[in-house]
Symmetry: C2
Subunit: 497 residues, 2 copies
């Protein structure tokens, strides 16, 4: 007998088609970028700080990339510092300025729908004596300019507002915010990671003092970011050590990643060129989905948003199941920001714009890419229709409430933990559970009991959802999936156990 | 007329052979690593935090790499956190522990020959109220164990000592240091970046609580490091934001770099296997050089050092010129740590082991790689012989002292700044200087005066050294190079100007 081990969910379900609609989480590295990176890895392996030939070659590539990144946002090359990601760049601005200003000013005014890399850093700064005031946003996530004006005072050293929101796509009126911040003697920092490649950026016109960027949002590699610091604005290192990046970021430069970022910026105009088409596809998708599901609620503003982003609420449909169900059909969408995923909490962005926790858990983000075409949209609409009309998958769900600690101890169900081994080692599981990785499930069908209810569990309830569907199709009649997974269950019972 | 623009020094001088002897600065990415990275970039572009297939594929690759890295140092996968480089990992341990321990203990005891990423972070921590005591080292860089015992007191929370020194290759008695640190209730952190792949590492046997690693020292990519934190030891994030790396390092994972690190660790045993051969080549090189230059002084201990590393002092021979001269012949060596290069100061490691500033400026580091062979050593010896016996290059050098501000103002010389454009934009130059990039020099020979002395300058005096040699060969008789370059000159006159 030949044993075939699954390498992916895709293999398990044999998709006909793949449609990647989560470009705000990350993008595929373009062929051009990949080739430039590979070439650099092969030929410019020197340490840019060294003096000899192969090293100076690497140094030159770094400076060329700096020029390209600067050009794409209309900055001077000397205003660009490469960091390991936008998250690091956000950390650097917030922490560096807090330390620099602390003797005189100690308040940051921020939008409440910033990326986790800003929100968590602000939370940490609060433990270090910095005051953070959050300015309200309207129901589409746009900052309330009038409120902002009232919140900034002589103690405020920084206003912090992203250019475009990652979950909603909402574009903020940065130039107006800049005017207010500067009038009060505060600097303005703007996380532009989600905007670059989707709308034109001119840091001078925007009037930002600090801006942060990430290559992997525009078909560049993961693990490289850029920090723009307007000439003359104060900044100190977050990572101390060698003299690299003009003393602002120590550590041997990730030359191939930097080259990849530069190459991605070479293609910014092409990306911007595609946005009109993308915007039309988005409008078409909204229309189709509204026909299928008239109760659907669009959280993304039609005007003043990233043309590729669409945040939708489907009343009555849980987003974890929805993401898993769409994944069966090869469609990748997300239930929120990838960076806040494993917490399994409702999106803070969505609750900040006034959605209930329930509504936030019924919302998904669809973000189109430059390769998305009309067939993708038609396919996605069709699958959406099937899912939201419950024409296909029917998976029994057990909620954490329905699975008490006593149930576990009584071994009422055969609990099957389908998490991959690495996750299982890292995070605790449920007591009395059996373990078979999702990816090896097909090899162990004969080991599963047919006379007892099987409850499939995983970290967040997505893999177990898929696995339940699979087992149902293999003739297991009494199988169900734990909704919101082990982390949801532990949230409810964790302390009691 | 066809114009050929030089792309590198190599092209200018048409090397017959290239010998890379600076493996401690960085290493070439191995073919295997490159292929694994390229494959990941192509096929696993998902964000590991997302829930669907292509994302979970990326997540799985990250965990596989974590296992490989853990295995190569005999740690548990859960004890490994990926960071953007060893520098960041060093920063994280030092800053995190300082904050954690500050209410009770405020002293770090460190070796005085740590990497800049540790030294500069310690300097910064001193501005934040942390006391740092440096333990003396002997003339070969080995830490004075007896002194260490005396320095650690009840206020000490951390002892910080690298496993192997990057400039000297000296291996420290970490297990003994661990015993002393733990006896006094202090933790031990060890920067192992330079050791991995050169000597076997077992973090448990070493008794370290924190250890840091970097992929690019063992034929992995630049821009990825690992932090080992012994199970149970405290650690907090340096970079706040998303939940990635178990909440210890925010920011989307650089999946291809992580995969590259894992692949490099796959090859650790091969690398270790080669060290015996490398050690023999090093011994042969020492013998040959000693015959050529009997006054040569070996700073690296023969026993208890990385088998590939050789630190040598050549009395009377300036190391900047030496590095440039060897580069002409395709040989890459270094004048110190790449990470402390542009400061143009004598090596702090060498002065710490008792060398004078003069001697430190006459010292070079040769670090062999796993591909170094006997022909490389013979070639290098021959070129060394030519250089140290002054058989080949004779380049007129002008010292900063010999070039006063008045000389510049009087335009006695035709000052030619040969720095590449990027460097020229970034750092100030000398007044009344003309600019032709080194790499375009051949295109502008007819623009240079034949009736006036030409003084070539660059940032550190290396490129101008090469350029002077080139012009001499093109028939310019009155050319010279500014020793230690613009940065050396500005150090002397910068304030006056």
């Amino acid at each position: 007998m030949e044993l075939i081990q699954f390498k992916s969910i895709g293999q398990l379900f044999r998709h006909k088609r793949r449609v990647y609609l989560d470009s705000n989480a990350t993008t595929a590295v373009s062929r051009y970028v990949r080739q430039r990176m590979n070439h650099t890895l092969k030929h410019a392996y020197g340490n840019p700080s060294s003096l000899y030939e192969v090293a100076q070659k690497a140094a030159r590539l770094v400076e060329e990339a700096r020029q390209k990144v600067a050009q794409s946002i209309r900055a001077q090359p000397a205003e660009i510092t490469f960091t390991s990601c936008a998250t690091e760049a956000n950390n650097q601005v917030l922490k560096s300025l807090s330390l620099y200003c602390a003797p005189n000013r100690r308040t940051i005014v921020a939008s409440p729908i910033e990326h986790p890399s800003v929100m968590e850093t602000l939370r940490w700064l609060q433990t270090q004596g910095i005051q953070v005031k959050y300015c309200p946003v309207d129901h589409q996530g746009r900052i309330a300019i009038n409120e902002l004006e009232k919140l900034i005072d002589t103690n405020t050293f920084l206003v912090c507002c992203m250019l475009a929101n990652n979950e909603l796509g909402t574009i903020q009126p940065i130039a107006a915010i800049s005017e207010i911040a500067h009038r009060h003697g505060a600097w303005l920092m703007s996380d532009c990671a989600q905007a670059l490649g989707k709308i034109p950026i001119d840091v001078v016109q925007l009037g930002v003092d600090y801006a942060t960027f990430s290559a992997h949002k525009l078909h560049g590699p993961k693990g490289i970011g850029a920090l723009y610091v307007k000439n003359g604005c104060p900044i100190t290192p977050l990572v101390h050590g060698g003299h690299q990046e003009d003393g602002l970021r120590a550590g041997t430069e990730s030359v191939h990643n930097i080259v990849g970022f530069g190459a991605a910026c070479d293609q910014v105009n092409q990306l911007l060129h595609a946005t009109e088409r993308i915007g039309r596809l988005r409008a078409e998708l909204v229309k189709k989905l509204q026909l299928i599901h008239p109760e659907m609620q669009v959280n993304t503003p039609q005007e003043g948003s990233l043309p590729n982003t669409l945040n939708l609420t489907f009343p009555g449909i849980d987003n974890t199941g929805m993401v898993a169900a769409l994944d069966f059909s090869g469609i990748a969408v997300s239930a929120g920001s990838a960076c806040s995923m494993p917490e399994n909490k409702p999106s803070q962005v969505l609750t900040a714009i006034g959605l209930s926790e329930q509504e936030a858990r019924e919302s998904i983000r669809i973000s189109l890419g430059n390769k998305t075409n009309r067939r993708d949209i038609l396919y996605a609409s069709r699958i959406f229709a099937q899912q939201t009309r419950k024409q296909t998958l029917t998976v029994n769900l057990v909620t954490p409430k329905q699975l008490t600690l006593e149930d576990l101890k009584g071994e009422m169900n055969y609990i099957l933990d389908v998490r991959p081994a690495a996750l299982r080692k890292k995070y605790r599981g449920l007591i009395h559970s059996h373990a078979i990785s999702f990816f090896e499930l097909n090899l162990h069908l004969k080991d599963l009991p047919r006379n007892k209810p099987i409850l499939l569990v995983c970290q967040h309830g997505n893999l177990s959802y898929a696995a339940t569907y699979y087992l149902q199709n293999k003739g297991f009649t009494n199988v169900s999936s734990l909704w919101r997974g082990i982390s949801g269950w532990l949230e409810m019972y964790g302390e009691a156990e």
